[in-house]
């Protein structure tokens, strides 16, 4: 118990799960998490991320595949023998037990005597800055405080893996940022391998070392936040993470990873193709609003301003292209950034070649 715990790795090996009704919840998920990493499972609701979390915790037995913690395959172990700590979305604190008893609950289950338990609970409560609250009941604390208790309770068992299920969803926006910093600080201190389930991309990108994007039970991409944002591998990732304008076009030439596309809106652009495409393929081109700029030469494509939206630090212009598609372009606002009037004819192009991404249609 007292031995210094090494951060354990977590491997999901071809995890597939079908519900009793036959619905496929997750399909062929492979994840290789290094010890001490923070991983975010990101996806819209119903993408299977919570199912995956419950499989790792042992609440659901997967239909196929293996869960490996450290060097051990844990599939045969019930939840109470996996040493996986969980912070639930609604915190799930025991309402009839004091804060201190909540934190000491896992230690009591391990047969630790009361004096040691109380001391350890106090140490953890000090760590989450709730030292004086040990005698209170959960309902006497605010949401943020309850969450810190839930975190302390999960960390008390020195878990090999820490799972956080939508941990910040119930907090208001200001508190959320504070708690994200706090959780990251505590995770660094404890060095515990951590999985955060979230549908909030900002949260995933800001907190995680690596992000796994899930959609309809499939793993779309697993990579660092920069890779996810800058080099999305699928159309889903490109549109779900960050915002992207989707325009259609036809491939006219390919050269290694770069392809030249003739846009239906007119003009040609050079784009990156993570999936192979051939000449004369119909494709979807994703352009991030912040990767576009107004140009005065004849590169890019033409359109006219539909609307100008000054959003504080950025200015967003909506442009109507020739084929009727609507494209947003966002610029950092400097002293002289002019708001363009509706109806003004403009030309728009990516800031650099390769900032646009094409996907087969």
């Amino acid at each position: 118990m007292a031995s210094v715990s090494e951060a354990k790795s977590l491997v999901l090996d071809r995890i597939t799960h079908r519900f009793a009704s036959g619905t496929m919840a997750v399909s062929d998920i492979n994840l290789d998490v290094k010890g001490g990493e923070i991983i975010a499972l990101l996806g819209p609701s119903g993408c299977g991320k919570t199912t995956l979390l419950r499989i790792i915790a042992g609440f659901i037995g997967q239909s196929e595949g293996r869960v490996i913690i450290g060097n051990d395959v844990v599939d045969a172990l019930p939840p109470n023998r996996r040493a996986v700590g969980i912070v639930f979305q609604n915190y799930a604190l025991f309402p009839h037990l004091s804060i201190s008893e909540n934190v000491g609950y896992g230690l009591a289950a391990r047969g630790v005597d009361k004096a040691t338990r109380n001391k350890e609970a106090q140490r953890l409560l000090d760590m989450v800055q709730l030292g004086p609250f040990g005698e209170r009941l959960p309902r006497q604390l605010s949401g943020g405080q309850q969450q810190r208790v839930a975190l302390a309770r999960a960390l008390a068992i020195k878990p090999s893996i820490l799972l956080l299920d939508e941990p910040f969803a119930a907090l208001d926006k200001n508190l959320r940022l504070d708690m994200q910093i706090e959780v990251k600080r505590l995770q660094r201190m404890a060095g515990t391998t951590t999985l955060i389930v979230t549908h909030d991309q900002e949260e995933a990108l800001s907190m995680a070392d690596r992000v796994a994007v899930l959609s309809h039970g499939h793993l779309e991409q697993f990579g660092t936040p920069s890779e996810i944002y800058d080099q999305p591998q699928t159309l889903f990732v490109n549109t779900f993470v960050g915002t992207a304008n989707r325009v259609t076009g036809t491939v006219i030439a390919t050269d290694a990873d770069d392809v030249k596309v003739a846009l239906d809106a007119g003009g040609e652009i050079i784009a990156r193709a993570p999936k192979p495409v051939r000449a004369s393929d119909k494709v979807i081109v994703c352009l991030r609003p912040e990767h576009l700029t107004f140009v005065s030469d004849d590169s890019g494509f033409a359109g006219e301003i539909g609307m100008a939206l000054p959003l504080g630090a950025t200015v967003v212009h909506e442009i109507k292209a020739k084929d009727g598609s609507s494209i947003k372009i966002s610029q950092a606002r400097t002293g002289g950034t002019p708001l363009r009037e509706a109806g003004t004819p403009v030309r728009v192009a990516p800031l650099a070649p390769g900032l646009a991404t094409v996907f087969p249609q």
């Binding site: 939840p79 109470n80 639930f88 799930a92 009839h96 999960a154």
Partner: protein, 293 residues
């Protein structure tokens, strides 16, 4: 300005008088058919002779100094405790099962639980006589299987009575339990397991304390119903076992000793009130748990 003041001044008053007015019919019925007879009963119990002419506490002294009467009171309260315990032990798993079943099984469970309430007590009690009797279902099956030579004595025994009463009172236990267990956040059991607790520990440390409001409510209802179940007590218990409701009936109806019967009623009433107060005191201590989401 003026109209606003008037409205705010009169509106709350209106609401109050209105709701009191609505409660009036019931209040009148209650006063005439419950409070008044109870007062009369109390008045009657304070007389030493059967004709109710001499004032005194003689009836109370007679009851409280009579070992036979005290034994009847004691066995009645004990019977209630035994029936309540049987209902709790048998009912908790049913309520537990209900919360963990699909909606079709839930409907089935509710129907089975409510079924006893849909038939008359007399019918149900006679069914138990058929089951428990000397030539009843259990005895004839066991005899035909050759397991027993002479019929077992089940009817007119404490055990048979407890079984019959427990079946009759079961809905009063199961329904509050279903409500209480349903209010417990299912994540709590998962949280307990993930912290290393086995299923027994999770049950004792989390589920049981959090279902305490339902246990208290169920026990109070079952207890009160079991000790006053005149028909079942008399028919299944038979002549050898005497409980308070029958004792009372004998004194009033057979012996025409109304003042003594009245005193028995009052003593019985206070004994039951004391038990109910004990339960609700326990309930108050457990109330914090009930807020569990």
């Amino acid at each position: 300005m003026k109209s606003a003041t008037t409205a705010s001044a009169t509106a709350p008053g209106d609401v109050t008088s209105f709701s009191l007015g609505l409660a009036l019919p019931l209040g009148v019925v209650f006063a005439i058919f419950f409070v008044l007879p109870l007062a009369q009963l109390f008045y009657l119990s304070l007389h030493n002779d059967t004709a109710a002419t001499v004032w005194g506490l003689g009836q109370y002294i007679k009851f409280l100094s009579d070992p036979f009467s005290l034994a009847v009171l004691g066995s009645t309260l004990l019977l209630g405790a035994e029936v309540t315990l049987a209902c709790l032990v048998l009912g908790y798993p049913i309520a537990w099962l209900y919360q963990r079943s699909g909606s079709r099984v839930q409907t089935l469970i509710i129907m089975i639980v409510l079924l006893p309430l849909l038939t008359s007590v007399v019918v149900r009690t006679f069914a138990w006589i058929v089951i428990l009797g000397r030539q009843g279902i259990i005895n004839s099956v066991l005899q035909s299987l050759g397991l027993i030579g002479t019929p077992l004595r089940m009817i007119y025994t404490q055990g048979g009575l407890i079984a019959a009463l427990a079946q009759v009172q079961m809905p009063l236990m199961v329904l509050p339990l279903i409500t209480a267990i349903g209010r417990i956040d299912p994540n709590l059991a998962d949280a307990s397991a993930s912290l290393g607790a086995g299923s027994w520990r999770t049950f004792v440390k989390v589920m049981l304390p959090l279902s305490m409001p339902g246990i208290i409510a169920g026990c109070t209802l079952t207890y009160a119903a079991a000790i006053t179940a005149f028909i079942t007590q008399s028919l299944i218990g038979g002549g050898q076992m005497l409980f308070m409701p029958m004792y009372l009936y004998q004194q009033a109806s057979t012996l025409q000793n109304w003042p003594f019967a009245a005193a028995i009623s009052i003593i019985f009433l206070f004994a039951v009130l004391a038990i109910v107060a004990l339960f609700s005191m326990l309930g108050r201590r457990a109330r914090g748990y009930g807020d569990a989401r």
